[in-house]
Subunit: 413 residues, 2 copies
């Protein structure tokens, strides 16, 4: 089964790779139009998915992610139009030079070929991921949750109608109907057909991919992000940065989970900061020294330092110096986003050089590690791995590069 | 065992990451000096390795790879000095811009951390790989062949003496003494400690890594490279390009294995070309049409089209048009290097756009896909994968990137 799907995707991808930017823009706009024209079919399929989800008693949170309505369908179309209008990453010459023997060399950005996405019960990801794949010249294999299969199929049919209306094979965007675990494993191991697998889901999905995938993948991993308030911090700046990093959207990966404070400013900074966070509904869990400065803190256990709460909870640690702060973050961080608040240029320099994370931030909220904030226009995830792409992933993350050499008869001596 | 080795490598790598380019240059020059000063120890260890290899009756080719002498030790030192003088890849700002809210963003090249290399019985790789890893700010875990263990250990001790002489931990370069298969598997699965695994070996090693590795790796895979002589070829140019691609060094991955000829020029081109190749000792294996034009050709079987001979053998296929040439290469090529000879700009453009390979070459020998030829100064291999790095891998392939953001109190609305 996966071989037939993969073979069709590979052939369709070769066609997509040859399209001009203008053609792809037009295609994505047609995909947006088709999604909106298919709104009644999509909502009808979704209401069947919703009925089944309710009858199986799935959580309210999952039901909310699964639910579509006219506004959400419009938002999918708007997302496709936004990606349609991004610059085409394909064909960009990222480097070029002439060898001593006269061969002219270019390094050119090219599509990967076939991109697979495994995702949870969010039907909007079907349109988002298809748009990003097609815009970057790749065929898409989309494997969503069984809860969303009817919705995903309806959205997929709309996207395929747009492909066919432009003379392209429908198989450029395929919804994988086998949503079993066995089906997921087949996709994760389809080395002949899948050039990149992007997981969009929680720790369970990531663990399954790390254990079973043999195709190349990019991990959008955990964000146990810290804000370190240095001895040299402007405390009037530190307060809003800590508050925003924790409270503005606590359920996402670039939210801060842990506050690390230099002992020289802890007595002055922590009591007021703690009050402000607790008033906003944050549960604070501190080490002994932190609790001696702010009695409202609950005691932290060793497990707290390594936990990504995704919730209104924050751990608090007092450190004797910058070395201890860096050591703590290197030990417990997940390499996502780490922030320092300081006016001390030496401390900022050491922090940015020694903290090994996708994003290291001086004097701003951790919440800025985001494709849209970075100006990428769209984001397929945030890579916490070091190879291929690190940090927010835009269209370029879905491309590879190729060397093209132009000679006039050169041979090696 | 691997945990202790890995922990020490991780710590040592953090120290290397902070070194300036000047310090690393001095360090590599010291490594070169120490290797030369240790020549008698190294040659004595190597003669024990050689004695054992001979007693076990290993092949003459393996013995030649294993053998060291003064000249080869000098060449190792020269290699280290050459890498010492390359530009430092670490700290390079590869992109940078200012967000609308005033945050200044930089994307900076940083070391990966710990790089592991698994290689065959070539002791010179010990010095080469250590030099590339240290120059790019990474700790090195070097796992060579059991045949070369004494030689590798002696070279490793010289390199460690240089590290210690500069106040750095010896564990920045470690020779893995456990050369068992189980030991290799442990290294391939040491996810906590290994940021990149580079295999330098044959298909057996690559297959083992693809099957068993859970650490990130870059594959230096097979090169079933083609030269396509188009209808629009300058046949006076095509002859030397085909000859050089096949004959100049047939045992390497960028040598051509297959000659594809457009039928419009086959009758004029093939007989003379075949004679020249056969006179040079090449065995030619052709399809039926090729054999009808040049009777000296042996018959090719279907297996020939997918075979990387690494030898003085070449398959020959006649195709009716450019589409058939591209189709044949896409089907049987390994994505390494593919060349076209043509004066026809449309054919050259289609070939470079549609052939999906690390290097696509117009009117030059396939033998140019090489780090030194590209001007990278040193090469740790040639990547045939699409993620992270593709084609010849220089020092930059041993780095990652990190976003560094400088704000003055920005928070997200």
């Amino acid at each position: 089964m996966i071989n037939e799907i993969g073979r069709q995707a590979r052939a369709a991808g070769r066609g997509l790779a040859r399209l001009t930017g203008e053609t792809k823009r037009d295609l994505l706009l047609a995909m947006a139009d088709q999604v909106q024209q298919s709104v009644s079919t999509i909502l009808s399929a979704n209401s069947n998915d919703m009925a089944q989800a309710r009858s199986e008693g799935v959580s309210a949170a999952l039901q909310d992610r699964l639910l579509l309505n006219e506004g959400r369908v419009d938002a999918m179309a708007a997302g496709l139009r936004s990606v349609a209008n991004l610059p085409d990453p394909v064909g960009m010459i990222t480097a070029g030079w002439t060898l001593a023997n006269g061969i002219r060399l270019q390094r050119v950005r090219v599509p990967l070929g076939v991109v697979a996405v495994i995702y949870e019960a969010r039907p909007n990801v079907t349109a988002d991921a298809a748009g990003l794949c097609v815009k970057s010249g790749n065929a898409a294999l989309l494997r969503g949750s069984s809860y969303a299969l009817r919705s995903n199929t309806a959205i997929g049919e709309a996207l395929q109608a747009a492909l066919v209306s432009r003379g392209l094979p429908a198989e450029a965007v395929q919804i994988i109907e086998d949503t079993s675990r066995e089906g997921a494993r087949e996709l994760m191991q389809a080395k002949e057909w899948v050039d990149l697998l992007v997981p969009r889901g929680g720790p369970g999905l990531i663990a399954a991919i790390e254990a079973e995938a043999t195709v190349p993948f990019v991990i959008d991993g955990a964000g146990n992000c810290h804000v370190y308030v240095d001895a040299g911090a402007d405390l009037n700046m530190a307060g809003p940065i800590v508050f925003n990093s924790k409270v503005q959207r606590p359920g996402v990966c670039n939210a801060a989970e842990s506050l690390v404070i230099h002992e020289a400013v802890a007595e002055q900074f922590l009591p007021g900061m703690a009050r402000q966070l607790i008033d906003a509904g944050v549960e604070l869990r501190g080490d002994e020294r932190a609790r001696s400065l702010a009695a409202e803190l609950l005691p932290a256990t060793n497990d707290d330092w390594g936990t990504e709460y995704h919730d209104m909870i924050m751990s608090v640690r007092i450190v004797p110096d910058l070395d201890a702060a860096i050591g703590h973050i290197l030990r417990y961080g997940t390499g996502h986003t780490e922030a320092i608040v300081t006016e001390d240029i030496s401390a900022a320099t050491r922090f940015t050089q020694e903290i090994d994370a996708a994003a290291v931030i001086v004097n701003a909220s951790t919440r800025f590690t985001d494709g849209e904030q970075f100006g990428f226009g769209a984001e397929i995830g945030i890579s916490t791995q070091k190879l291929h792409v690190r940090g927010p992933m835009g269209l370029e993350a879905l491309t590879s590069e190729r060397y093209i050499l132009f000679g006039d008869g050169q041979v090696r001596a």
